[in-house]
Symmetry: D3
Subunit: 253 residues, 6 copies
């Protein structure tokens, strides 16, 4: 019997308390433990390309640390998948982005899917990710609830109501056959949304990206799979200036 799989959830924002230990604990199951880390340098939340960019150096540093500490896989805790490609270059353990994973899962489970997310400002980002990941033909729409990330917790009931309404519109107007929750801050809302959809006669998967990605990370480790080093080769050794406090000095093969 092998040691449990350690899936590291890496939060690429600096706001403390955004991710509760109990929430992550709830994602564990037989043979899987969920560890957590968080960047120290970067944005308070991510709702723009600028914030994506500012979150990546810290995410790279924490990913290298996670591999060094023995994590079996890394799940980046943001639906912008910040740094997914860069991180894959510098570590060998599987690195999963919840956007990539949840969108591919949705593409497998239904004819088309919609993403329901926070703000208009992240719609191009999500649509661009769908293109790069090769699932844009399966993307029916991206809908927004117009609540910023850092206000998600202030009115939990309004959040669930807005998400259910947007999901219902995606199903009935855009032809969605599956829903992907488009912000990892929506953790735990999937069941309530699915229940609302069922009351309207629609039985379909509502994918909560972090739990789903943790399970897929476990599956990838079990299957002995990791990202291609032909796509994500270790960078060549060369000088890097100006990131001492983030903990990356000189790096590369």
């Amino acid at each position: 019997m092998r040691a449990p799989i350690d899936v590291r959830v890496l939060s690429p924002i600096t706001t403390k308390g955004f991710r509760r230990p109990s929430d992550l604990k709830a994602l564990e199951y037989d043979g899987v433990v969920v560890s957590h880390s968080q960047i120290e340098h970067g944005p308070a939340s991510i709702e723009s390309e600028y914030e994506i960019a500012m979150s990546v150096p810290g995410t790279i540093a924490k990913a290298i640390e996670a591999e060094r500490e023995g994590a079996d896989a890394i799940v980046i805790d943001c639906m912008g998948d910040p740094g997914l490609r860069a991180v894959r270059e510098v570590v060998s353990i599987p690195v999963l982005g919840p956007a990539q994973t949840a969108m591919h899962l949705a593409a497998m489970l239904g004819h088309r899917f919609s993403v329901v997310t926070v703000l208009d400002s992240v719609v191009p980002m999500i649509e661009n990710l769908a293109k790069v990941y090769g699932v844009d033909e399966k993307l029916a729409s991206v809908r927004v609830i117009d609540i910023p990330v850092l206000e998600l917790e202030t009115e939990p009931e309004r959040l669930t109501t807005e998400l259910a309404q947007a999901s219902l519109a995606a199903v009935e107007q855009d032809g969605a056959h599956a829903i992907v929750l488009g912000c990892t801050g929506f953790l735990g809302c999937a069941e309530a949304i699915a229940a609302t959809l069922r009351t309207h006669g629609h039985v379909l998967p509502v994918i909560d990206p972090v739990p789903a990605t943790v399970c897929m990370a476990d599956g990838m480790v079990r299957a002995g799979l990791a990202h291609s080093k032909r796509t994500y080769g270790m960078p060549r050794d060369k000088e890097l200036r100006g990131y001492p406090e983030i903990g990356i000095a000189r790096y590369g093969a």
Copy 2:
């Protein structure tokens, strides 16, 4: 601690002994058991659309049986994913096709992937599946080794050599960054192929579809996900003639 997940591998061909119990046993891990069933009516092997068609009624019957027997998920044991969409309509537990699962995994792990399969006759089938699954932009090529399914076991060394050569050509000539083994009869060959590729300097995933799909099936069950009933709704109740011995009489909601 919940009961182990029972993943049912369902072989849609009638040739006995094609799937060895020890091979399936080797796919089990903590918390996952692999059960097996096989169709009784249908083709000896699958290398054409005609054989796909002839394998599906039996596959439907065995899938209904699997759900009734308490399986948690079904993996159809053929890279043509025979009956995947039909079976999903008549059962509620997750049903996974190795072609769909392995191609989506490959799309997640590398920039582009190639499928290496048995015969020219299945190339259009695989390319059509890639289109329907929405991953065709990620498919670099489909290559064949020109060995029929029922001869795969006669010369195991030649099999591995041919697969490694075709995979190498896919990487160096077609730009593949990941390889999907395109026949479930290639079970167990992935590591040798990956090793050969590494000796040529190419470090990339070689996906053995049945093991990988079993792990993903486990992950889906853990994540509480199944296919969309909006896409795969239970058929309406109506008369069906002529399938008594296959065990399907009248079916539907």
Copy 3:
């Protein structure tokens, strides 16, 4: 003067009387006779992937029979094109699916087309066919009238009204420049729909798939064309179990 072209219309459902001799007779013209056959084993009607699957073995048997009886071409009488690819493998005469033919015709005749069909449950099937046939860029939308196949004849006026309304919506809201009737049970409705559209100022083709496909089958025979055996090669000779009563024992080259 050569013998008339014999176009065999093959109905892949078991409901008797669904296809009236007089309706088929009306499709004949100088040099073309329309013969008919129907499967004996399979579903009463087709509105799901499960029913598609259950209709195919019988369709294969009847197609082999049609070729043996001297038919010049086969038209499968269902907009799911059940068994089109499998049947093409086992016969050499042209085999036409009304979905494939009507969608390609519509793509030739107008900028974009919509399909108007029976139920939500067949929408993914039609969209997947459009992808595989390579005409999805031309498909504006698929609209449904929400009447099951076996109820189409109960209220002929309501049928025509609903089809005309859905077609009008496709033209005015989805940008359709041609309409494809998405169920062969809509035979004979095209002219009334086109007339309604004209009263709203829209002059465009409404394609009744069975008559149009019969004419195209005639054209293909006249042009000496049939499907590619490179795509649809004869299956290899091998054992097939369990289809004695359907009349397929052992088959292949």
Copy 4:
């Protein structure tokens, strides 16, 4: 018994004798007569966008004349489909381009097709037509034999040999499952090419565009279909200067 269908073949080049009456006569069959006309103003042959452009005003004039003379359908006799869209605006009878028709036929008959044509200069034109017609996903390649149109007749044996070689390369290197002859000047070469391919073990359709398009034109007339007036509406009435000798003065609805 209705009068025979009159399919007008309209040659959009000014070279006399390029199209022999006996060749067109050979395309007739029971119920179909083939009439012919030719532009008087325009290029000697078509191998460029410039020549396409210069051939269109005359083609429009001759198409209006054909409809006035009672033709049932028009087939434009060039694989650039010169004026196809413009002509469809000014006449109501079906107007078929051999490129559009042959490419859609090829897409229906095989998994992918290649076009074999005269010169490099027409490759972008053919690929652009495939995009606009919505069949580019089915186009495997365009290959050239590097013989100008007006030299096709000088060495008929070399022509057939070059076409067969290019077709064989398309099949074996580009994955073509059907061949479209990419110049209407290749009339009559299809059977010899198909025979050569068969000697290499490839049984697949080689589409001779003019005969195939004549048969499809007949089929369209029989089916009562013509191009959409929503796509190809009659132009608004307005002044046109400078085309008196081409016979178009003022035109439009």
Copy 5:
């Protein structure tokens, strides 16, 4: 200091006074002069494929003249880009179509763009151009104001209002992030539309195609770039009949 760049605006319609000298003068800036010419044979305005076709021979003649007169670049003054490909074959200086240029610019500046144009009849033309130019994935929608070209000047206020409304609908309903004015007759309206959009909270580019294309033409000349002669090779020398008064006799390399 080099001589100013001479950008020739070539109007492919015969209506006199449509293009005012003062409007073109306003497009000049340091180092750039704008010259003008107009076809003498062809349609009064362009709203159909037929009119596109009738405008091209004259456009070719005037483009050859422009190059002979020393123009540095040519801008075709119509959003149908009539003759763009043909003209590029017969001249070497850069030839720009405002549709191609403005759509590529819009694709560069925003996530998706809409085109707002005159009449339904030109929508397929614009969508086809987007396909051929390779920007159709970026095209959110084409909207029309339903005012014919030759009536644009009669009610300038209504024109601006209709354009602003259609643009607003494109932004709010179709997801446009940039607007392309879809008729060169809309010259000068961009700023008013952008202002209206701003009052609704939308800050985005509204591209006036002729001014933008003049600037891009200047940029191309400065960069030493012109269209590829591999795509747009000089036609082969051959006889051309019937265009003496348009000034093209025999042409080609």
Copy 6:
């Protein structure tokens, strides 16, 4: 007469002397001055996603500085377009990426284009950019010369030879009709490559991305255009930790 347009070339690498003042001076012309800045924190060169990521914070800082100093437009001096989307969010002046600009230019000038670049490691990056920019249908291939960025200057003759050979292969084997130089370190090589191609009979544009992008930046400023704020909205005001020395403290609207 307005003040000259100031186009700021912003080099996102820390290697001093990589960009020579004389090279930038040579890009100036009447009415255009080229200013320069360079990041102080980040990688020595860019050949991976990791280095892209590490270059972006500094690039953002320098872009904000450029706008504050009165630059009229910014050209990011790397074919990975590092930070293009993030930078556009935080400034209002036009920001151009040479990859985006050169690929759109190439798509406008020829039927298809190839990119010739440094190393295999950047191929996925360039292909992903082509997808996001919407020009992937026009991209024939990406070829590499296998010389790292920091060795480009060591053997200038070998560099030109390798680039010419790769370009020739792109034209003759991949069907490229235009070439985009895929590294801004190739500055100045375009003419020699074009000359070599001409000796092989191929007359086509070879786009040197920095000079071409400077000219397009000038054109955009002249046309009064900038990126859409609907796509690239100013980020919301929120805390950012850990970038003091890069000069970004707290940012946003």
